[in-house]
Amino acid sequence: MTEPTLILAFESSCDETSVAVIKDGVEVLSNIVATQIASHQRFGGVVPEVASRHHIEQITKCTDEALAEAGVSYDQLSAVAVTYGPGLVGSLLVGVTAAKTVAWAHHLPLVPVNHMTGHLYAARFVGEFKYPQLALLVSGGHTELVYMVEEHQYQIIGETRDDAAGEAYDKIGRVMGVNYPAGKTVDEWAAKGNDTFHFPRAMEKEANFDFSFSGLKSAFINTVHNAHQRGETLNKYDLAASFQQSVVDVLAEKTVKALHRYPAEQFILAGGVAANHGLRQRLQHDLSKEFPDMTILQAPLKYCGDNAAMIGAAGTVNYLYGDRAGWDLNAVPGLSFPRMNPVTE
């Protein structure tokens, strides 16, 4: 019997301090997540210096709990994996420094993980991966279509040119009095309303796979402000439904277009916004109709937000491919997959 691969994983790229132990890349032995949402709600959004301060408060407690809950000791570990970007630099540095220290102290390999690979691998907890694969990764900081010809090779074929989808949710949420993170509430309201406002669908007709959400956001804010000046109150459920319909239309249509250009055995939806019910239903419906032979994996709801379990899953793959970081590993706040050359059709 071969020894299991046991990875201790750290994630601190934004407002969650998380440490997990993952067995053989798929089994979550523990996943401790300390969230700072209540703190940043005081300010209406994540304040980087406050986030960094919370991370250092939580880091040892989360580590000890992750190991204890997993029932794993340091000498059983295969490696330490850590998110080194993208994210907030001060936040990333706490996790990177902690991971380096633990790896150094126990003579363990240090495995660097791109946070977006982590989001992708959240879907690994619900099924095996097949290639070629196309993933739509949507979160508060990122919106991108990633194509993988084979395992461990990532290329961006389309991404947002301005706001990330999750960021747009937070901004229009604020206009409706919904505190950050607004996605869940807007999603719930959207289910109770109808698309009566017909907001613009940005870049829908363009021959590329990029997104833009700032025009939609502005149209939304103008609609609300104009109504406010006229003394009217608009139906919040219809506002939410109209906004969400526009976001979901653009994401779904670009995804379908991308899959025609880059055929895939499997489609993956992951990232914080992948928890959105409207988006999950729409993609499942459209893609299974259009591409009946393609399998669809959606990241489970509990692993859509930031967590170290997904970093451990991605870290296991990186570990097996021999990815190693030196003790000089630094945070890379703008880390990104390589971009495939723009398609000219």
């Binding site: 300010f43 040892t60 220290t101």
Partner: protein
């Protein structure tokens, strides 16, 4: 840490200390055994401590043939200073002490500078760091019976105001720190007669001094709660407190 040199497991002569200070541009790390310096490295103008801290510790440890688990105590400069800089040393020290289960001690980053000044009693030592916009972090220390004793707590203050206050001191005062161009923009460099600014040769922190300051201190009881001494709330929190003066304190981070 025991000081029983009658042959108990850990006598003062064998205690192994790792000391780390990255509170400002300088990075200084030392390995000290039984009060004796074995190895140290200091860089004075480090832009990115994250790149240098762990490789430097690794190098020094290899030179003296210590394993991480050999360490008895980690002593860290706990602030004030650059928020990110302090966090890198404190994260390293806190996680290391937790993961190998050794003692952890925090020492004021300002005290580390003060310790560079020779022990002349009856003299107030005032170390300072640039804290931007004409402000400094500063503290008051004095050598008493071979120990550095705090006279006034580390604080965040305008350099001009600090110097004015020091003029009222009856004792002579020596200030130690780097009078950067940024501080000079807000401060006319006029020191009163009783206040002397020491040469920059005293203004580089030495991790050996840090280790000596930390070797007799009581170790931290609850390592999880160990955090930097920033001295200042974040601007966002200051604003929020102004708007919510009566909000009760609560724990803003929850495990989910």
């Amino acid at each position: 840490m025991g000081y029983d040199d009658e042959g108990k497991t850990k006598g003062a002569f064998t205690v192994k200390i790792l000391a780390i200070d990255t509170s400002n541009h300088p990075l200084t790390i030392a390995l000290v055994e039984g009060g004796r310096l074995l190895a140290t490295t200091t860089y004075n103008m480090v832009k990115n401590h994250s790149i240098y801290v762990m490789p430097t510790i690794d190098q020094l440890m290899k030179q003296v043939h210590w394993q991480p688990a050999d360490l008895d105590r980690v002593v860290v400069a706990q602030g004030p200073g650059s928020y990110t800089g302090v966090r890198i040393a404190v994260t390293t020290a806190k996680v290391l002490a937790d993961t190998i289960d050794c003692e952890l001690v925090g020492v004021s980053s300002l005290a580390v500078l003060a310790a560079n000044v020779p022990p002349i009693s009856d003299q107030l030592v005032v170390p300072f760091f640039d804290a931007r916009r004409g402000n400094v972090y500063a503290g008051g220390y004095q050598w008493q019976g071979g120990k550095l004793v705090e006279q006034f707590a580390d604080t965040h203050v305008a350099m001009s105001q600090l110097v004015t206050q020091l003029a009222d001191q009856e004792k002579s005062v020596v200030m130690v720190g780097q009078l950067t161009r940024k501080i000079k923009q807000h401060f006319d460099s006029n020191f009163p007669g009783n206040v002397q600014l020491l040469s920059p040769g005293y203004a580089v922190p030495a991790a050996y001094q840090l280790a000596l300051l930390g070797q007799d201190q009581q170790p931290i009881e609850n390592i999880d709660s160990f955090v930097p001494h920033y001295l200042l709330l974040t601007e966002a929190e200051v604003e929020w407190k102004k708007q919510h003066p009566h909000a009760p304190h609560r724990n803003y981070v929850q495990e989910v």
